[in-house]
């Protein structure tokens, strides 16, 4: 590659645990850095050596397709040695605690650990016990910072800005770390946020985070520039939150009719994986004029390359 890659600017945090810890300038540093990788990822030769000699460990306690492969590819394209721990065959299954796992891995001198865990705050605990940088790839229902960053990058790529946009985040907000990270990030960048969910899936006091609450989807989508749909996380639901998927689709699924309340040029986003026919109409999901779902995945690699690069230094 002939392109000269910018040296990363100093960032205020050692770890990327959540959007809450970042400043606006931190976010802009990451997003600016990510932009340069977008074209690289489309080119023939995708390999760089920025992270040559660095070791990246992916520690995924929860199943994941896109996030794990995205981080793995990102690390490899930057030239890092990437190791993805297989939790099923690891000592964790033998009862090892997170702290002991952390200390074991730490002894192998990695430069960066990417962790996904079912417990909120697990990455914070890990970061206290290791010397290297920690990137949160999703902890419980708390935060999923790289997802929010790639969502922001996608929006900027299409709309050229975030300031002043009206963005609706719809669906299972209660169980969603993506919603929380996006609320912090998009709020900081000056968007107006409408949160749309049935009351049973609305977290307590969410309006204190500076968002508008709606249980009527049509009202919530009115004049929106972006409609971000979330996956209904049935696996996290311990008791009856909803009567049925059919009723949910009727009232909270994104259909052409409900979408018509948003602006004509509104874009549809979804962090995936999708439940087609439950939270989103399958044709809308695939509508290349409206849906940017595939672009989100594509830019995800770029954002994660930027994060790995910045936090490895």
């Amino acid at each position: 590659m002939a392109t000269s890659f910018k040296k990363a600017v100093k960032i205020s945090q050692k770890n990327l645990l959540g959007i809450q810890d970042l400043s606006i300038s931190d976010i802009n540093v990451i997003l600016d850095d990510a932009k340069q990788f977008i074209s690289l990822n489309k080119s023939k030769n995708k390999k760089l050596d920025i992270l040559r000699g660095k070791t990246q460990i992916n520690l995924f306690f929860e199943p994941s397709t896109r996030t794990q492969s995205s981080f793995e590819l990102a690390g490899k394209r930057l030239g890092a040695d990437v190791m993805s721990m297989n939790i099923v065959n690891s000592a964790i299954k033998k009862g090892e605690t997170l702290i002991d796992t952390a200390m074991t891995l730490n002894a192998m001198h990695p430069d960066i650990i990417v962790i996904r865990h079912q417990d909120s705050g697990a990455c914070n605990l890990l970061s206290q016990k290791v010397n290297c940088a920690v990137i949160n790839a999703g902890d419980g229902r708390r935060e999923h910072p790289t997802q929010a960053l790639l969502d922001a990058l996608t929006i900027i790529d299409r709309k050229k800005k975030i300031q002043g946009l009206k963005i609706a985040i719809c669906g299972d907000i209660l169980h969603s770390r993506v919603a929380r990270s996006n609320i912090y990030l998009l709020n900081m960048l000056g968007a107006e946020l409408n949160i749309v969910a049935p009351s049973n899936l609305m977290p307590k006091d969410i309006d204190k985070l500076g968002v508008n609450k709606f249980s009527d989807m049509k009202k919530g989508l009115k004049d929106c520039d972006i409609v971000m749909m979330l996956r209904l996380q049935n696996e996290r639901m311990t008791s009856s939150f909803l009567s049925s998927n059919r009723e949910y689709y009727e009232y909270y699924g994104l259909t052409p009719d409900k979408l018509s309340y948003a602006k004509d040029d509104a874009l549809i986003m979804h962090p995936g994986p999708m439940n087609r026919g439950i939270e989103i109409d399958t044709k809308l999901a695939d509508d290349i004029n409206k849906s940017v779902i595939k672009e989100q995945v594509e830019l995800g690699v770029a954002v994660r390359m930027a994060c790995l690069k910045i936090f490895c230094e």
Binding site: H117, D119, G121, A122, K204, D205, K208, L209
Partner: protein, 428 residues
């Protein structure tokens, strides 16, 4: 035992309405021989040595109504010996132990064991409770009558709540027949399911399951409604929210019951959980600052009768986990009094009232002759410098488990020495 003479102390004994500067004499048997302003240098034998306690306070030894001890089953967290040392360091001379042990205190032979261990290993007075239901399962009642005869002072499932309304009504009827004290930890299981912190903005931000204040209120409402029909000695172990205070205020004139509160809920709020501090994972959870203030107001309106430490020792391994995996509870018996004194220093609660809620009130509920400085009674007391500043340090905690909720907190007021039956068993 030699006679002991204390002079010029600020004596505070809510049971006898004593609040004056004076002296106290402990006789050869370890009983209180005389107390009050009439005890001065002029009327003690001139050859006797006396201790001048100018500007220091004498309180009755504290009665802590909610204490978890690890015996039997969890000796590695706390045993009777370590518990009594921790208690003495905090001026506590009588404790009510919870039945959440392994095996559970639910039958007569376990009570014998506990009594024996308490007598042999502990230097303080141990008042054991037994469980309301066998093995804390919430289905079958224990033998209130037989257990009482063995010295059980009250019945509670400790950290558990009786969910079954019919069973609760039957427990109340039996307790009425046998004049037993029933103590309920109020939490609706379904509403509190998987909950770890107060249900509110902190739970939302930390991504943790919340425990709504309604979970507590609903059980209190239910129990107080049952109590109207099945009147027994009933005590709500701890309340944590303004909603519960409102309920109690409404019911106070209709039925007889008493209420406790943990010093944690009086002194801390949900913001203290901060960055997933597992030592502040408590049950009931720390709630909002408004809730905390409502609890203080409730004390000043006599709606709350008792302050407890809710001393729950947990070893390092139970806390070095993610927030959702970590055990709930904090070690707090030795900081109960100093933390309570903070509420005096910041003008929240009068000193007399604080000491009343820590001594004579719990003794009255338990029907035990403790928590007072009456002449002829065992000299269980503590000498306190209520102005002495100090900093809580985890590594200096006397309890076997160091899970204090207030590590590094600056406090004012420290116990200088503690006496049980006239013997000085702790000295700083």
């Amino acid at each position: 035992m030699k006679k002991k003479y204390f002079l010029n102390a600020n004596i505070l004994d809510p049971y006898n309405s004593i609040e004056e500067i004076g002296g106290l004499i402990i006789d050869e048997e370890g009983k209180i021989e005389a107390i009050g302003k009439k005890v001065n240098k002029n009327n003690i034998p001139s050859r006797e040595k006396f201790i001048d306690l100018k500007e220091k306070y004498i309180f009755p030894g504290l009665v802590d109504m909610r204490v978890f001890v690890g015996e039997p089953g969890y000796e590695y967290k706390e045993n009777f010996r370590t518990l009594s040392n921790a208690a003495l360091a905090g001026g506590v001379t009588s404790v009510v132990t919870m039945p959440n042990t392994s095996p559970v205190v639910d039958n007569v032979s376990i009570v014998d064991f506990i009594k024996r261990r308490g007598r042999d290993k502990s230097k303080i007075n141990i008042y054991p409770t037994a469980s309301l239901t066998k093995n804390l399962e919430g289905t079958n009642m224990t033998e209130f009558g037989l257990l009482q005869k063995k010295g059980i002072v009250g019945f509670t499932d400790g950290t558990q709540t009786i969910q079954n309304t019919r069973l609760m009504s039957r427990i109340m009827r039996s307790a009425y027949d046998l004049n037993s004290l029933v103590m309920q930890h109020a939490e609706d299981y379904e509403l509190a399911k998987n909950g770890m912190v107060n249900d509110g903005i902190i739970a939302t931000q930390l991504g943790l399951h919340g425990i709504p204040d309604l979970a507590e209120k609903i059980i209190i409402e239910r129990d107080l409604s049952l109590l109207e029909d099945f009147n027994c000695r009933y005590h709500i172990s701890q309340i944590s929210s303004s909603k519960s205070v409102d309920t109690i205020e409404r019911k106070k004139d209709i039925v007889n019951f008493t209420t406790g509160v943990s010093i944690n809920n009086l002194s801390l709020n949900e913001n203290d959980v901060g960055d997933f501090r597992t030592f502040l994972k408590l049950s009931p959870p720390l709630r909002t600052e408004e809730d905390r203030i409502s609890l203080i107001k409730a004390i000043n309106k006599d709606l709350i009768d008792v302050i407890v430490s809710d001393h729950k020792p947990e070893d390092e391994e139970s806390k070095r986990l993610t927030f959702s995996q970590a055990a709930a509870g904090a070690s707090g018996i030795e900081t109960l009094l100093p933390l309570a004194l903070e509420l005096f220093h910041n003008d929240s609660i009068k000193l007399f009232k604080l000491i009343k809620l820590l001594t004579s009130n719990p003794a009255k509920i338990l029907k035990i002759n403790k928590g007072n400085l009456s002449v002829g009674n065992d000299a269980d007391l503590c000498i306190v410098d209520i102005y002495k500043p100090w900093i809580v340090k985890k590594e200096k905690i006397v309890s076997k488990s160091k899970n204090t909720s207030i590590d590094d907190k600056k406090l004012q007021g420290q116990v200088l020495s503690t006496f049980v039956k006239g013997e000085e068993l702790f000295k700083i």
